[in-house]
Structure formats: structure tokens, C-alpha cells
Amino acid sequence: MGEVLVRCFGAVLLLAAAAGWGFCEIRDGRRHIFELEAVLDLIRAVREGIDRLSAPLSEIYAAYENPVLRESGFLTLLREKGMAEAVEGTEWRLSPEELAVLRDLASRLGRGFREEQTALCRYAGDRLEDALEKRRTDEDGRARLWRSIPLLAALSLILLLL
């Protein structure tokens, strides 16, 4: 009886570990998506600020709010030092390709006239939208996989116990 209890307790621990691992992987994937969505929201705000009001970047940044970018510390750096330094000074979950798009935008923002600047924002936004779409599709598959792993683990354990 004692042995059975120990085996059951061990099985529950393994199941919990597998579920927890799966949960973390899903959460990290979602955080990557949230970050991409936040960056896209910022780019939209910048583009609109430039296109509709020709507002200086400092004013656009001061008026902008986003909890994801605030939590990562990017928003504070953005307001203090501008986008180029804020991009370099933040720890991102973005992929190297996505970060390259953001760096390219940051290096050219504020250095041209309205049409060119809005086109720049639109170009960066389109590339990151494509990346976001792909990531959402991939993430759905990953989430299903990580939800299945604990179930498979549970079935395997039951078979072992039997």
C-alpha cells in the first residue's frame, strides 16, 4: 500500500512538472507575441503622430503608453534617450530578424521628412505584422503540443503503474 502511494505521489510530481514546463513554454511564446504587438502599436502611434500632427518624436513618446513596453523598461529609456538607445538597452524576446527591423527603424526615425518617415514606419510595421502572423500560427501549434505533453506523460505513467 505504501509503495503504491509513493508511486502515485511520484507520478503526480512528474505530471505537475510536465504541466508546469508546458505552461512556461506557452507563456513565453505568448509574451513574445505580446511584445511584438506592443512594438507594432508603438510604430502605429509614431506613424500617426508624424502623419497627422508632424509632432516631434519627444512629444509622441511622452504621450504614448503601453504596459508591456513599460514593464520591460523600454518606455522609460525611449523617453529619456530616444528609440535607438532604448532598443539597445532593453532585453527583448523578439527574434534577431524582428530586432533588426526595429533597429533599422530606430536608426532612421526623425532624420527625414513626413512622407519618408511615414513610409519608413509603414514598411517596418508591415514586416513585423508578417512576423507576428507567422508567430501566431506557429504558437497555436506549439501551444497544442505543450498541452498534449502532460496528457501523454500521464498516459505513460498510468501504463507504467499498471
Binding site: 508624424i50 521628412f113 513626413r114
Partner: protein, 302 residues
């Protein structure tokens, strides 16, 4: 002097490190410096009391672009309208003339592709600069300040705004500050309404329509649109204090604004080396004064 120091410090902040060091090595700490000029491949100079002082370095096109970007606060597009007219007005009223390669379209400038010259003009306050002309404006007459470029017309208008809207006079003053220069350094409880960045004609018409000013102040009038707007200002019974470019009193009296009878007082801001007052029977000199390094000559129609 505090205003000048701040403008000097802001100008130093805009300059690339190498150029800044060279400017400081001339021994100037801002006193008497009217302009800082950068030229791509050309000699960088300071203008001090009208004289050109070499800084001993030449600037590169990249350095000029970096200085212009800092002057624009990292947002060149926000200054596009001014750049098309060859000027950037930075924080604190530092006005920079620019020259370079233009992208032209339909006879106008669409943008400036590569800046090759930057001339930073430092704003300054000269208390008392407007004293010769103020009594006329306070009586309800309209005065036109004239001079060649760089003589101090904007300074006179700025000082006039400070007095007319100050706690002693408390007139309702509308200031159309198209180039963000008139308001530079004006602080304190003023009874002035600023139309910052507004095109002149639009600012004048909006002010008269909605703010019922007693006095309207506007810099550098030119063109038919400005004249039409000024007619509306005057027909509303608002006294105006404005400025135009002119190299002589004879040229000033031929200006369309004068010919249209919109101004009864002419205020010339001249260098001491300027030829002594010419006789214009319809515009006799009624007042002369020396303000700092300038001679101010007031003529009144009659």
C-alpha cells in the same frame, strides 16, 4: 545676459564635439557672439559685432547634418515647413539659416536633400530696445520696424511685447510667432497670446477674429497675403507693430504696407556706421536713440 548664456549653451549642445571645441578655443563664452556658422568643406566662423572670426576648422556634411538634427530635436519632419524656407528654429529661439541642395517642385522647394551650411543665430534681449517706438504704439498708432537682416528687428519686437504685455502696461497683445523667435526668453505673467508656428496671415486673422487684441505684433511681413491680412487687422482698429526687411528709409517708405497707409510710424534699426538720416519730407525723423550697438531712428508720417 542669462538669456544669452542659455542660448549659447543650447547652441554648444547642438554642435558636434570637434566643432564645439574649436569654437570654445576662440576664447568666446557667448558674449557678443551673434552667429555661429558651419560650412561643409568651408571655414567655420563666429560673427561678433558684425565681424567674422575664424574658428580654425572646417565642418563635414555629416557634422552639419548631425547639428541640424539636434537643432530639430531629432525630428526633422517637424520642421519641414521652415526648412523649405531655409530656416530651422530650435528650442530657445535659436534660429538657424540653412543652405544646401534642394529638391525643387513646381517652382518651390519640396525639401532640402543635403545641408551644406548652417548659420545659428543666437537670440538676445536688449532691455530698452523698443523704447523709442513704444509711445506711438501705446497711443494706438501702427509702427513698422525696418532694417537690413541681422540688425535686431526681432529683438525690438520682443522687447516691445515684454513691455506692452508686462505688469505695468497690461495691454492685450497678440504675438504671431511664425518662426518661434518672438517668444524666446519671454517669461513671467504677460498679457500676451502667442500664435506659435502659425503662418503670419492665418495667425493675424485668427487673433483679430477671436482674441480682440489691442496690439498685434508680427515679424517679417512680406507678400500680398500678409498685406491683405494686415488690412483686416487695421480695419478692426487693432494697432500693429511689425517688421520688414529694408536697407534704407527710402526703400522702407516704398513698401506696399506703407503705400497702403497701414502704418504711420517707421522705426529703423541701424548700425552706427549707417549713413546719417536722409531727409524724407513726408516722413520726418521725430526720435533718435542709441540702444546698445544700434541706432534707432523713428519717423512719423505727417
Amino acid at each position: 545676459m542669462a538669456e544669452k548664456d542659455n542660448a549659447w549653451e543650447r547652441a554648444m549642445d547642438c554642435l558636434p564635439e570637434r566643432i564645439r571645441r574649436a569654437v570654445l578655443q576662440t576664447g568666446r563664452d557667448g558674449r557678443g557672439v551673434e552667429e555661429i556658422r558651419l560650412r561643409a568643406g568651408g571655414l567655420c566662423t563666429l560673427t561678433v559685432s558684425g565681424r567674422n572670426i575664424s574658428c580654425g576648422v572646417t565642418a563635414s556634411a555629416d557634422e552639419i547634418a548631425a547639428a541640424a538634427e539636434k537643432l530639430c530635436g531629432g525630428s526633422l519632419y517637424a520642421h519641414a515647413d521652415g526648412i523649405r524656407e531655409g530656416v530651422i528654429t530650435g528650442a530657445g529661439g535659436i534660429r538657424a539659416g540653412i543652405a544646401g541642395t534642394a529638391s525643387a517642385e513646381g517652382g518651390g522647394v519640396r525639401s532640402v536633400r543635403a545641408m551644406t551650411s548652417l548659420c545659428l543665430r543666437l537670440p538676445h534681449r536688449i532691455p530698452g530696445a523698443a523704447d523709442p517706438v513704444l509711445p506711438f504704439v501705446m497711443r494706438g498708432e501702427s509702427a513698422l520696424v525696418w532694417s537690413p537682416p541681422g540688425m535686431g528687428k526681432t529683438t525690438v519686437l520682443r522687447e516691445a511685447a515684454a513691455v506692452l504685455a508686462g505688469p505695468d502696461e497690461m495691454r492685450r497683445v497678440a504675438v504671431v510667432d511664425t518662426r518661434l523667435e518672438l517668444g524666446a526668453g519671454l517669461d513671467g505673467p504677460l498679457t500676451a497670446d502667442f500664435y506659435t508656428g502659425w503662418p503670419r496671415a492665418a495667425g493675424m486673422e485668427a487673433a483679430v477674429r477671436t482674441m480682440s487684441p489691442q496690439i498685434l505684433i508680427c515679424d517679417e511681413l512680406y507678400g500680398a497675403g500678409d498685406c491683405t491680412a494686415m488690412e483686416r487687422v487695421r480695419s478692426a482698429g487693432v494697432a500693429a507693430l511689425c517688421s520688414i526687411h529694408a536697407v534704407s528709409a527710402e526703400e522702407a517708405v516704398r513698401h506696399p504696407l506703407i503705400r497702403a497707409g497701414l502704418f504711420t510710424v517707421l522705426c529703423g534699426v541701424l548700425s552706427p556706421r549707417h549713413a546719417s538720416s536722409v531727409e524724407l519730407p513726408e516722413w520726418p525723423v521725430v526720435r533718435e536713440a542709441v540702444c546698445g550697438a544700434r541706432r534707432v531712428e523713428v519717423r512719423r508720417h505727417g
